[in-house]
């Protein structure tokens, strides 16, 4: 199960956190929020004291203490924050997923998400835009002549095993969509014409919200899906259940 929310999480209305990289991100986010809150309070206290004080004979004039010293301090503070953030960013984005990661292709279109699993061969079959026909059960335009696509199967839910890295390849068919899972602290746009990879590791089984976070049309608000994280054995069972109809449907 996901960890019980801490007091800080509840105070800042942060949702549960069920990914491997999430706790570090949360810790950094909360650090930022507290620092910002403190600086905000400090600035206002200074304004009030400055206004309440009797008029001083001479105005403040030491530019070094009043301007450069605080700016240097702030520069140091922002550098530390930026460096911490950069470490996390590098860990999350600079390298690709582990080769053993589970491959899932996420395709956004107005206004649904489709999740395609490559099946046992771990290779996604070719897709052709001219073959796209959602009404005929081929929403992604799978090319029937491509053998590697024979064992692929498509789901409307993103189902993942817990504690295994996932490599998502994001695609969009029509307009830009934003793939976002707040509980996984994850967000990446899916851009038409590009395949963008992100990877993460869900830790706790449960159902989580997938939202679209890039304005994509009048149905943008209802372009939601569910991320279901299962234990490895449940996941295997789910895969076995799901592959059957897909196999049967393939000519």
């Amino acid at each position: 199960m996901p960890q019980a929310p801490t007091l800080a999480h509840r105070l800042w209305h942060l949702p549960l956190d069920a990914s491997l990289h999430g706790p570090a991100l949360d810790q950094h986010l909360l650090l930022n929020l507290w620092i910002v809150l403190a600086l905000l309070a400090l600035a206002h206290v200074l304004v009030f004291i400055g206004l309440a004080k009797r008029r001083t004979r001479t105005p403040p004039r030491r530019q070094r203490t009043i301007e450069y010293l605080p700016i240097a301090t702030l520069a140091l503070l922002f550098t530390v924050l930026a460096a911490r953030a950069e470490t996390l960013w590098q860990a999350a984005r600079y390298t690709g997923a582990d080769p053993s990661a589970l491959q899932v292709e996420v395709t956004g279109m107005q206004f649904v998400w489709y999740f395609r699993y490559p099946g046992p061969d771990a290779i996604f079959g070719a897709v052709k835009p001219e073959l796209i026909a959602p009404g005929e059960g081929n929403p992604l335009g799978r090319d029937p002549t491509d053998d590697s696509g024979r064992d692929d199967f498509i789901s409307s839910q993103l189902v993942l095993p817990a504690a295994r890295q996932v490599d998502l390849r994001l695609r969009a068919q029509d307009v830009i969509h934003g793939f976002s899972v707040p509980d996984m602290r994850l967000k990446q746009n899916a851009v038409p014409g590009q395949t963008i990879h992100i990877h993460f590791t869900p830790t706790a089984p449960g159902d989580y919200a997938i939202l679209c976070t890039q304005l994509c049309g009048s149905g943008h608000y209802r372009m939601a899906a569910t991320l279901r994280v299962l234990s490895q054995s449940d996941f295997d069972a789910w895969v076995a259940r799901h592959r059957m109809p897909a196999m049967g449907a393939t000519p």
Partner: protein, 583 residues
């Protein structure tokens, strides 16, 4: 009546004016400034009403708009688009830069005219045409565009991608193209005015910081709007000439296969648009920053602390402002390495912004200022600038943006720093310069009421948005209820806060009633204001007798010089005498 000042009624001006333009009344910068303000007020009213409709719809999705019925999702998004476009272009750019820029700037640099009055008038005409075009967009078939003020392709490039993306989008393109062209012309006029028409003695380090703000904003708007024009041209080609600068080779929109001859990328639009879009938000706020510095110093009766550093800082904010556009694209498909680079330049901009805040704090420190309405709004600007600015460094960290991008946290951030601080800058300008604009002083009691109510309303509206954003609530959602699954649970969990925000927004709108009342009362009042009621020191307040209307203005000192005890003020137009030089 006290004698007309150097920026008195249009038409009663020096011969210069007449020789420079055939219709002095129509091309006079004061006339144009007032016209710009009227245009902004119209846009502000429309944008405000739209935002209330949006808030009411979010809090009560079943609410029926009187005379209209329920708000449909595409109507909600149309309102979002119109609200953003109206507020950003026609209020926050037009009012501070072209409105007050025309009304006050020439006088503040000791000039009686602008460099190119006829071009100035043409720019206004184009801006007015742009506004009319935009306001017509809800009435075209399909309604207004729904892709937001950023108009990301492919949505903005393909008519099939939604209602309003056909004719409504073309109208939007036309409107913004007209606006961009007008802004370029107006910026040329403003830059040349500042470069060429400063009066004798108005050397660069004696310019009020307000002028530096206008100067930097005009300097930014030239390249920014020029790039926007090019981007709009390319988008137009994508829409109507089957190119694909912003489109990949194949797309399937609404079941229709679309092929283009060009392997373009939507990211190219994002780059071009944000190269314009980010400087644009600095264009909106820089005049307010400069004015706040000057007004705080005025009422603190002191010099601006670290005045020369503030000049450098203003220019530095402008320079960094054109180097940070990528921070809008951390999760948009930009290379993660580019994300790191833009994170650094964005964090860097926090430092000059902090320098401004420190200067403001030091200027008012222990000065016992007169807390007039203008001063209160300047303090409010400081407060909102800090509150909105501090979340900037959070959003500048790509890893945190990975969680916060396009949530209400961002909405809260830019509404505090740009919208609210910008509007406080406008109120500040109105209260402070009202004696120059209408020869009356606004009522102080109503002014203070207006200030406190607006400040409370602003914070009550936008602080809770940080929390809904942290809870994961995305922007541009037409409703948060009626969605199945865990997504529905997550969205519905923000509803209690949504209602609070809506109530606060209604309060914020209602808080403007004292201001309207104040305007009515003051404009009907028979009592003219004193010629320089705030003991201001900058040139726009220089008294001028009618008989000497052609006497050249001369500046003898820097702005905001006061004696140490604050008893005496030494305006810029007052010649130096030996013993009085302060500090």
């Amino acid at each position: 009546m006290n004698p007309p000042r150097n920026l008195a009624a249009p038409g009663s001006d020096s011969p210069t004016q007449r020789s420079a333009a055939p219709h002095p009344r129509l091309t006079h910068h004061r006339t144009i400034g007032f016209a710009y303000l009227a245009l902004s007020a119209t846009a502000l009213l429309a944008g405000l009403l739209l935002s209330l409709v949006m808030r009411l719809h979010l809090a009560w999705p079943d609410w029926r708009l009187p005379l209209h019925g329920p708000v449909l999702p595409e109507e909600y998004l149309g309102a979002v688009t119109l609200h953003g476009t109206l507020m950003l272009f026609f209020v926050l750019t037009v009012a501070p830069l072209w409105g007050f820029g025309n009304l006050i700037l020439p006088a503040q640099i000791g000039s009686r005219r602008t460099a190119f009055p006829r071009f100035n008038a043409a720019a206004f005409a184009l801006t007015a045409l742009a506004l009319l075009t935009l306001l017509a967009s809800p009435f075209v078939p399909g309604g207004t565009a729904i892709s937001g003020w950023t108009s990301y392709p492919p949505m903005s490039a393909i008519a099939a991608s939604g209602p309003g993306q056909a004719l409504g989008m073309d109208v939007w393109l036309l409107s913004i193209a007209l606006f961009a062209l007008a802004s370029c012309i107006a910026a040329v006029n403003m830059l040349t005015t500042i470069l060429c028409l400063r009066c004798d003695g108005m050397v660069w380090h004696r310019l009020p910081l307000t002028v530096w703000g206008w100067f930097t904003a005009a300097l930014l708007s030239l390249p920014a709007f020029a790039v926007l024009l090019a981007a709009l041209l390319l988008l137009f080609c994508d829409r109507h000439l089957q190119t694909g600068f912003f489109l990949p080779a194949t797309l399937v929109v609404n079941g229709v296969l679309i092929r283009t001859t060009t392997d373009g990328s939507p990211l190219l639009w994002l780059h071009l648009f944000w190269f314009f879009g980010h400087p644009e938000v600095y264009i909106a706020i820089l005049p307010g920053i400069g004015l706040t510095s000057m007004v705080l110093a005025n009422f603190a009766r002191r010099r601006v602390f670290a005045y020369r550093l503030m000049i450098a800082v203003t220019l530095l904010i402008g320079l960094l402002g054109i180097l940070v556009w990528g921070h809008h694209m951390f999760v948009a498909g930009l290379s993660p390495f580019a994300g790191s680079a833009f994170a650094i330049s964005t964090m860097a901009i926090a430092l000059p912004a902090s320098a401004e805040v420190l200067s403001w704090l030091a200027t008012i420190w222990g000065s016992r200022p007169r807390l007039t309405s203008a001063m209160l709004f300047a303090l409010g600007f400081v407060s909102l600038f800090v509150a909105g600015g501090l979340t900037g460094p959070i959003l500048a960290q790509p890893i945190l943006d990975q969680y916060l991008h396009n949530t209400f946290f961002v909405v809260a951030h830019f509404h505090l720093i740009m919208a609210m601080a910008g509007v406080f800058g406008l109120f500040l300008a109105t209260y402070y310069w009202f004696p120059l604009l209408a020869d009356r002083t606004l009522n102080e009691t109503l002014g203070r009421t207006h200030f406190f109510a607006t400040l409370v309303g602003a914070y009550a509206t936008f602080l809770p948005m940080h929390l809904t954003g942290l809870a994961g609530e995305p922007r541009h959602y037409a409703q948060f209820t009626g969605i199945a699954g865990p997504a529905g649970t997550l969205l519905a969990s923000t509803m209690p806060l949504q209602r609070i925000i809506t109530f606060a927004a209604i309060f914020l709108a209602a808080a403007q009633l004292p201001f309207l009342l104040n305007l009515c009362i003051t404009l009907r009042s028979p009592f003219p204001s004193a010629s320089n009621p705030w003991d201001a020191t900058t040139m726009e307040w220089a008294p001028e007798a009618p008989s000497t209307a052609s006497v050249p203005l001369i500046v003898h000192r820097g702005p905001s010089e006061y004696s140490l005890d604050g008893q005496n003020c030494y305006p810029q137009w007052q010649p130096l005498t030996q013993p009085e030089q302060p500090e």
